[in-house]
């Protein structure tokens, strides 16, 4: 617990992005980039301070309005939340720098990017800090609308359709979640996690079980878990590249985080091995189906988007590997799942950044036309390759650490079938990553122009990809924070 | 603390009306009709909120739920119709 004099970054993590988002809105269309970058730099500092405080002083709560749960709303930060806040800041800052260069090169769809991105980041932080089920609902909606606004911002037919599909999916998901919350409030008279957890444990009523099912279904839909992934590829693949990066790297992690938190904490007395196996099965389906579809894509960004569908699958392998098994296996599984969330955030942001760079370079989104990239924008291609290393789960990368931990948990708990899925998934990932890389090596066809890519775009993506690698080499730190 | 009214025939009728208007709003192929039925549904919801001793929600439901949402939906239906008229005229 910090002393009262000590600076508490927790509320500022929410206030700050809200403030700069509002200011960016007031500034007007296309304005606010510098404000956003400054805000995000400050946010990174805040997240680091908070992580340090949590590491030193343990989890803590902040009673909004001074009332305290259950009457008021509590914010809560523990290791997992602190990690997610860090992930948000670490990914959002380079993407903002990237976006500044990107929207200078192609202004379409960038008019209201900055305020929308600000609200998105605020929603993420608010969600990661929330300890109140209804407050979580509001943050989910805030996040969903910001994401939809960003998706539709490209303004063409495909983008608007993708945005609508995304909106309906996300509303359906939060609707199911809200009904679950209503049932829990009805059963136990509170929406505060701290109050509800012991109440559910003491009397796991059928309402709570149904609430679990509704929350799981809603979050699976929002996380685009197979077979609810239908909305994701058009949205992530069709949006402007910085938007794709934010959506794929961060937004889907929010609903996954929520599910993980409730699964491990609130619903722990209710979850069953068969439910966990079902989630794992869907995860396995996501890995195989998403990878297979990524392989047959002809558009670069669609390939990357389907890769997200596949990578989400690994997140959901956490549930069967952490439910009903030995404590060591469960710990490894949770560590692996969180590591996967973090490394996918970095790698997928980098990969979308690189894809955007390549598209700017060759002027179109077509894998077959990438010839000559290797010679002309080597840094961007290198970024794509490094991000690919993480997604394939090759060492030394965060993706590898994640896979190592998950495989460890699978072998430890004797669930060899997930081992097969993960190994095959890794090979399929290699297949689709190299499908892009190999197109880049042959020389450009005569007549193909290769445009310059702004340096800010190349280096910010590269920094993210390197982050994914460093996470593999220095994963012990984040895992120590997770243990808090 | 406000006590709720007693349960009665009125509530059953209201429930049936709510379910019926919702069903019709969702099943009607004619979207103008569907929208009007949805507004009716909203107003019936306001009654239900009144029965549940929630006067704030009554106001909000009437002004926002039925009112604003209904107006937005009607506006959209207007667009659809104008669009179709334009298309028909182009086709002529």
């Amino acid at each position: 617990m910090p002393t009262p004099e000590a600076f508490d970054p927790l509320p500022w993590l929410i206030l700050l992005p809200l403030a700069w988002a509002t200011a960016a809105f007031a500034l007007g269309p296309g304005r606010g980039a510098r404000l956003a970058i400054a805000g995000l730099a400050a946010q990174l500092a805040l997240a680091l301070i908070l992580a340090g405080q949590v590491l030193a002083g343990g989890a803590r709560a902040h009673a909004v309005g001074g009332w305290g749960a259950p009457l008021g709303i509590d914010l809560m930060v523990d290791g997992l939340a602190a990690l997610m806040l860090l992930m948000t800041a670490v990914v959002a800052l380079p993407i903002a720098i990237y976006a500044r260069g990107y929207f200078r090169a192609r202004p379409k769809g960038g008019e209201w990017f900055w305020p929308l991105a600000g609200f998105l980041v605020a929603a993420l932080d608010a969600l990661f800090l929330a300890a109140d089920l209804f407050n979580l609902y509001v943050t989910l909606e805030l996040l969903g609308l910001a994401a939809v606004g960003l998706t539709a911002a490209a303004g063409d037919r495909a983008a608007v359709a993708a945005g609508l599909r995304y909106l309906l999916a996300t509303l359906l998901g939060s609707g199911a979640y809200l009904l679950g919350v209503a049932l829990l409030y009805g059963a136990h008279g509170s929406v505060s996690l701290t109050v509800l957890a012991p109440a559910v444990a003491a009397d796991p009523a059928p309402a709570a079980a149904l609430a679990l099912a509704l929350v799981v279904a809603g979050m699976a839909l929002k996380t685009a878990l197979f077979p609810f992934h239908f909305w994701l590829p058009p949205a992530h693949g069709g949006a402007a590249s910085p938007v794709s990066a934010l959506l794929s790297a961060l937004v889907i992690k929010a609903s996954f985080y929520l599910l993980l938190r409730l699964w491990l904490d609130l619903f722990a007395p209710l979850v069953s091995v068969s439910a966990a196996q079902l989630l794992g099965l869907l995860g396995a389906g996501a890995i195989l189906w998403g990878s297979a579809l990524a392989l047959v894509q002809t558009r670069l960004k669609m390939l990357v988007a389907y890769s997200t569908v596949a990578q989400i699958g690994y997140l959901f392998l956490l549930f069967p590997l952490a439910t009903g098994v030995s404590a060591t296996a469960a710990e490894a599984a949770v560590q692996g799942g969180v590591m996967q969330a973090l490394s996918h955030a970095l790698a997928k942001a980098a990969m979308f950044a690189a894809a955007g760079g390549m598209i700017v370079a060759v002027g179109r989104d077509d894998i077959a036309r990438l010839g000559g990239i290797a010679g002309r924008v080597p840094l961007t291609l290198f970024t794509f390759g490094l991000a690919g290393v993480t997604l394939m789960g090759l060492p030394p990368s965060g993706g590898f650490s994640a896979k190592w931990l998950l495989l460890m948990a699978a072998l430890e708990s004797g669930q060899w079938w997930w081992v097969v899925v993960m190994v095959v998934g890794g090979l399929l990932a290699a297949a689709y990553v190299f499908k892009v890389l190999r197109q880049a090596f042959p020389p450009a066809e005569p007549g193909d122009l290769v445009h310059r890519v702004p340096r800010a775009m190349e280096w910010s993506g590269f920094a993210l990809a390197v982050g994914g690698i460093l996470l593999g080499l220095f994963g012990a730190g984040p895992l120590a924070l997770l243990a808090v | 603390m406000t006590e709720l009214a007693d349960f009665g025939v009125f509530d059953v009728l209201l429930a049936l009306a709510l379910l019926g208007s919702a069903w019709r709003a969702l099943a009607a192929p004619d979207l103008f009709k569907a929208t009007v039925l949805f507004i009716v549904f909203g107003l019936l919801m306001a009654l239900a909120w009144a029965r549940l001793a929630a006067p704030d929600i009554v106001l909000a439901e009437a002004a926002i739920g039925a009112g604003l949402t209904g107006a937005l939906l009607l506006d959209a239906v207007g667009h659809l119709r104008a669009r179709r008229r334009a298309r028909e005229e182009d086709g002529r």
Binding site: A152, L172, G175, G186 | T2, F41, A48, I64
Partner: protein, 109 residues
């Protein structure tokens, strides 16, 4: 059965009804109506269960006020996008879905 519980049960039914409409109807306006019905159902469950012992509970009422505003915000955005789609594609249907015969027609036309 208390009044609160009765309306909560009704809310459950409305939620299921709205859900079916949201999934099954291809027309976007119908989907949006479905979403609103679904939301109303969830709100009824929240307030109804909250007052199932006969005492009105201001907390879920305030939550529902918040929920209604959120729902209208989402509806407005959805409708704006749907109208934009109409402008761009001539239809208010997501790609891949087809209207049934008679839908999006005036019954009297």
């Amino acid at each position: 059965m208390s009044l609160g519980l009765f309306y909560a049960l009704l809310g459950g039914g409305l939620f299921a009804l709205g859900l079916a409409g949201l999934i099954l109807r291809p027309h976007l306006l119908a989907k949006i109506i479905g979403f609103n019905v679904m939301g109303s159902g969830a709100f009824l469950v929240l307030v109804g269960l909250g007052s199932r012992d006969g005492v009105a509970d201001p907390v879920p009422q305030a939550m529902v006020l918040t929920g209604i505003v959120v729902a209208v915000a989402a509806t407005a955005l959805a409708l704006a996008l749907a109208r934009r789609l109409l402008e761009l594609s001539g239809d208010m249907v997501l790609p891949g879905e087809r209207l049934r015969p008679g839908e999006d027609d005036d019954a009297d036309a």
